[in-house]
Symmetry: C2
DNA sequence: CGTCAATGGGCAATCGATTACTTTCTTGTT
DNA sequence: AACAAGAAAGTAATCGATTGCCCATTGACG
């Protein structure tokens, strides 16, 4: 397959100029005469030349590439975030190097090392774990500009953009309480990262404020399967609470599925809420009430912060929590058509 | 943030040896004495040295990185494929550089150029378009080892792994015909790539064979929104066919959603099938009958083929079409609980 | 005891592009 | 007409790691 690659030297030779001139003609780093530009362009075209990005990166010590590390690319919340980031980077003329940490701090550390070794210009990360991600993230942040999104590890000197989880749970709990809910369970993840913890804390606090009794708090992982498992446990544990709030939509979808299978009618027998508003939240049976995160704004803001950090001026770390909104659907409302 | 990076020279100096020795000690390219190894390891550790991957790549002309280009990372079918590939690569000690072409041949070409410029060792791609992707994919395949997955562009000298689309549609059509379906519509994408075309062709052929009348073939894109739109058109067009087969699950989910909204009862009034068996196909209302693709096997096979192509021996291009299986759920069956 | 092979280590070329510095050639000014 | 300033192009150092080639030491073997 591989043909002997054509280098800048070949182009220079064919155009009858020096490699310096070729470089300048092609990159526009400095003006060249129209005649030479024409020559070089033609030669490069004829030879099918494309610059060796590795060599270029080594010399310039820039790759125009940003690394992104997310816990999972199967989770639609993160895919939406990734797409937003990629789009925003595109406009800044940068490429995205995407990695999945598979919710494993060890793998995450490896990805970060690899990104640093590959000399990406900056990193956007949603860390796996509030404690076990600390060392790797902190180290990486010391090597190059780094922005945390969605979740963050405390004690790392970096920017962060995410959603206001506390406010989000106020929206959820107020909505449930307004519907007359007296007891509620919360299904979340064991992961001790910022947003997971803030969601649990927010649930506790706002239920207390509104006089809603907390039935159970079940911790597992962010997946459909865990949602199924959690709902089975709730069924096994005895009388159901009035509502089940979930820390993400995948969990909620699993809960809904088990409800459908076991004949628990939602919302007649039980109210269910999710978190994230992934595209599939509107398609479930019944459609899911959830909290919408402004992913595009989060992504845009993350890229903006990173771009700022790539610039010459040092700014103090910024933390911005964007406001979420509640999306009410049938899982906490009246069934649309019976 | 950035500290002056520590280079191999610094380590060599601290350990009192040459850079050549450091390189050999750290990479194990050639044996060094235990004493020196100890010295070097300690020095590297003290200084927090990590090799500059760019420089290393330039010299070795290898990056141990594989690029992957998919039309969309929001489509769960591709995310599953990506995860499978990443997992398989991991075991081979390689990293994945993931790009999305957003179903745009121009963007796809840009991604390919960028991957080649970045000197990835090989590329795995699911091309956007059967014709408009040709030049870029063909060019890339000429530069380095390349494997096509799922879809392929004809006339490119490369390996391909995917599913047997023709067989898949036989499974679908036979299933529908066995249930007594006399008329059916097909909702697919305008994209003229191999798998899209094979699915449409398979639908036509097998419906003809089984004596099922083809009501309409609607072409749009692989998205929930297009599924919604297509179903609205079918409703507007007059009496519904007995069944609607869809070229992917996202389309089918959109179709089901509009059915729910407009009171069309599935499967009583209409049978609906999808394609891919994404995780959300089991969660819809009603759960979706669909074709399961063996994504893990596709991913594993793609990596295996690429690894082979990276080796010294040239093998003729391989094409392997793996067998899909039908997953029957309520959208073509009896409603589980009324 | 001399020679040869094996072993460990260093020197310097190399990968390919960029760029500081220098040279050459115009052009404009007085 | 002489000289300064500016534009265009070339020369060669450089980015940081790897590796071909060579040298020195050591031990084995005849």
């Amino acid at each position: 397959m591989t043909v002997g690659r054509v280098t800048i030297r070949d182009v220079a030779e064919r155009a009858g100029v020096s490699t310096a001139t070729v470089s300048r003609a092609l990159s526009g780093a400095r003006p060249v005469s129209p005649a030479v530009l024409e020559q070089v362009t033609r030669a490069a075209g004829d030879l099918g030349y494309s610059a060796n990005g590795i060599a270029s990166a080594l010399r310039r010590s820039r790759t125009d590439t940003v690394g992104m590390v997310v816990p999972s690319i199967a989770n639609p919340f993160f895919t939406a975030l990734v797409e937003g980031v990629e789009h925003a980077l595109q406009q800044a003329g940068r490429q995205l190097f995407l990695c999945s940490s598979r919710s494993d701090p060890a793998l995450e550390a490896q990805r970060l090392r690899s990104l640093v070794a590959r000399q990406v210009d900056g990193i956007i990360i949603s860390p796996v774990h509030g404690v076990r991600s600390h060392d790797a993230v902190s180290w990486a942040a010391g090597q190059l500009p780094l922005v945390q999104v969605d979740r963050y590890v405390a004690g790392v000197d970096s920017d962060w953009v995410g959603v206001d989880d506390h406010l989000a749970l106020r929206l959820v709990v107020d909505h449930l309480a307004d519907l007359g809910v007296r007891t509620a369970a919360f299904v979340s993840s064991t992961l001790t990262n910022s947003s997971t913890e803030l969601r649990v804390a927010g649930f506790q606090e706002h239920t207390a404020r509104r006089g809603v009794a907390v039935d159970q708090v079940l911790l597992g992982e962010y997946s459909i399967d865990w949602g199924r498992e959690a709902m089975r446990r709730l069924l096994a544990a005895g009388p159901l609470p009035d509502a089940v709030a979930c820390a993400d939509d995948l969990i909620a979808l699993g809960v809904l599925q088990v409800c459908a299978e076991t004949g628990v009618s939602v919302p007649a027998d039980l109210l269910v809420t999710g978190f994230d508003d992934i595209p599939y939240a509107a398609l479930s049976d019944p459609p899911l009430t959830t909290v919408r995160q402004p992913q595009d704004r989060i992504a845009g803001e993350a890229v903006r912060l990173l771009s700022a950090a790539l610039g010459p001026d040092r700014a103090p770390p910024a933390r911005s929590a964007l406001a979420p909104s509640l999306v009410v659907r049938s899982s906490t409302g009246i069934t649309p058509s019976g």
